[in-house]
């Protein structure tokens, strides 16, 4: 809990009161959670300033629950419930409203706190007609907004004058904060290039978004077109301007696309994935059987929000146990937290179903996963050849990197190229290719490849069908 609050990538919501063990958990992105809460708690027909004040309160309430670990510290495996008696309303799967969606995309990483404290405000509220409370009155915000109050004035009316709004908090999983000025036609620089590379990557899954070429950091007509199409696809105002809402949406979707590909390229071999249940697996065990179960869970979690995304460690820890229980709840199995035969077969069949039914083109192979050991100067290995191939490919874009002979030998030239790459990417310069350097090179290779993919099928300046 110590430290400054960050906006979590995901929030796990218990679909019932805290004491109900049969209720399911769902894990959704924080922005999607707030859009849903706002659409469930208040009417979208209310004046905009009332909506904004309510959304600030909803964000702060949720962040307070997460920051104080209100439920986690009491042994629950979720961050918040959807019981209005305990927390705030969340109707899983519901429709959301365009105006609420746009306001939330703009505000989702702003929250309320008392001056001199770091904790997000426990921003209580109630409807103000049927239920009265010390906090904000939902109906009252409508009256105040109609009297011309700003969102901040509405909030101080209820929560007192000693109230700060913290703007643009850092977001878990997003390393680049939003540029100071919105990006638009004519902008240039690294931030524009970041947007271009990410949109190109997204467009391999969303072919309606035209590829940008070249990804040169100059916001030209093709970038403008791609941004507008992205905005249309993700319910943002299609104005071609990358402000806060569009910036974070691009990162959010990019991360989702990327996570899917990472899991895919980590893929298990055919011998590893067998329908044979390895053994009964439970807390405290480790080994390949656990790795396979974790891989299935992580994979299914990318498709089913009732299963939380977990890391693949090979150790059956508490996180794995909770994910197994969520999986068992979602698939109507006895909730034991242990992987018995029935659970294993259901995991296997669900995983196979995804592989079979989702467009195979999505699963086109990308850069190879980290070989599992560091590549060091002097060795000879096929993985060195892949490294050399990737660096050569990248050197067309990052021209400071010299071209290499692809011979699988980690000689002085390869070491030098790795050093230059590390320097350019802000990785500690060692000349050794460990897991971070490999993953960074592999990811950039994939991103550039995704951008290049266009060149064969699309030409800049032509209308895309």
């Amino acid at each position: 809990m110590p430290g400054t609050p960050v906006i979590p990538e995901y929030i796990t919501v218990h679909l019932g009161s805290a004491g109900n063990p049969d209720a399911q958990n769902v894990t959704v992105s924080f922005a999607d959670y707030i859009k849903n809460v706002a659409s469930s708690e208040i009417y979208p027909t209310w004046p905009e300033n009332a909506l904004r004040a309510n959304i600030y309160a909803q964000i702060s309430f949720a962040l307070n629950r997460i920051y104080t670990e209100y439920y986690r510290s009491r042994g629950y495996d979720f961050d918040i419930t959807n019981s209005t008696a305990q927390d705030q309303s969340f109707v899983y799967g519901r429709d959301i409203f365009q105006n609420i969606s746009e306001i939330t995309d703009e505000l989702f990483n702003d929250y309320l706190r008392r001056p001199g404290t770091v904790e997000p405000l426990f921003a209580q509220y109630c409807d103000g007609r049927n239920v009265m409370c010390d906090g904000l009155s939902q109906w009252g915000t409508v009256d105040l907004a109609n009297q011309g109050y700003t969102p901040y004035e509405i909030l101080t009316y209820y929560y007192g004058d000693d109230l700060d709004i913290v703007f643009d908090t850092s977001v878990e999983g997003i390393t680049s904060s939003v540029p100071e000025r919105p990006l638009r036609l004519g902008s240039s620089g690294n931030d524009v290039q970041r947007v271009q590379v990410r949109l190109n990557r997204i467009s391999t899954n969303y072919p309606n978004i035209p590829k940008i070429y070249p990804t040169d950091g100059i916001f030209g007509v093709s970038t403008d077109k791609a941004v507008r199409e992205f905005q249309k696809t993700f319910n943002l105002t299609p104005d071609g301007v990358v402000g806060k809402g569009t910036w974070y949406s691009i990162y959010r979707i990019y991360n989702a696309v990327k996570k899917l590909n990472e899991l895919d390229s980590e893929g298990l071999s055919l011998e590893e994935i067998s329908r044979q249940n390895p053994n009964q697996l439970a807390l405290g065990e480790s080994g390949i059987g656990v790795t396979i179960v974790q891989y299935f869970l992580a994979y299914i979690a990318q498709y089913n929000e009732s299963v939380p995304p977990i890391s693949i460690t090979g150790e059956f820890g508490e996180e794995t146990r909770e994910a197994v229980m969520d999986f068992q709840r979602a698939y109507s199995l006895p909730v034991t937290g242990e992987v018995d035969a029935a659970t294993y077969y259901t995991l296997y069949d669900t995983y196979q179903g995804i592989i079979k039914n989702v467009e195979p083109s999505i699963f086109e192979s990308v850069a190879r996963p980290y070989p599992g050991f560091p590549l060091i100067p002097g060795i000879e290995d096929e993985n060195v050849a892949y490294l050399q191939e990737y660096l050569n490919f990248i050197s067309d874009t990052l021209t400071d990197i010299p071209k290499l002979t692809v011979d699988g030998i980690y000689g002085p030239e390869t070491e030098n190229a790795v050093r230059i790459y590390q320097e350019l990417s802000g990785i500690p310069v060692s000349g050794i290719t460990g897991v971070n350097t490999w993953n960074s090179i592999a990811a950039l290779y994939d991103d550039i490849r995704a951008a290049d993919y266009l060149i064969t099928s699309q030409y800049p300046g032509y209308t895309v069908k």
Partner: protein
């Protein structure tokens, strides 16, 4: 009270937590009219197909006239209810029921499709989300 007020609906069909759009999904939008016996009668309003972004066209649906601050006890809710059914080969069908539509507001219905498990025909549950209308205000 039906003097031609309309809201807008767009259905957004995706899989893999938004990472993949589902193209060619069939989306049926029906109105729900409460009957005296407590059930609801369905009337099909639109049958739509998603594009390569997973989006349906935007459609107009009847809503009740906007009321921001109703007074008194017996206030009709300011929205009308619909049911949205989405299907596509290879995925579990999804039904969103009691979807509220408000006048002059665009509703975005996200539909997260789950690929079918690799099991024999037969046990194919439909995923149902009851949106239970609007807020309890």
């Amino acid at each position: 009270m039906n003097n031609s007020s309309y809201g807008t609906l767009i259905v957004n069909v995706k899989t893999a937590r938004g990472a993949i759009p589902v193209e060619g999904a069939t989306v049926t939008v029906s109105g729900l009219t409460p009957q005296e016996d407590g059930t609801s009668q369905r009337t099909i309003e639109y049958v739509l197909v998603t594009d390569s972004a997973g989006l349906t066209p935007k459609v107009q649906l009847e809503a009740y006239p906007r009321m921001q601050t109703p007074e008194g006890d017996e206030i009709p809710p300011p929205y009308k209810l619909y049911i949205i059914e989405t299907s596509k080969d290879g995925f579990y069908s999804v039904e969103n029921t009691n979807v509220p539509i408000y006048e002059d507001i665009t509703s975005i219905q996200p539909v997260e499709m789950l690929p079918l498990a690799d099991i024999p025909e037969g046990k194919r549950p439909r995923v149902i989300y009851n949106e239970s209308g609007g807020p309890s205000l």
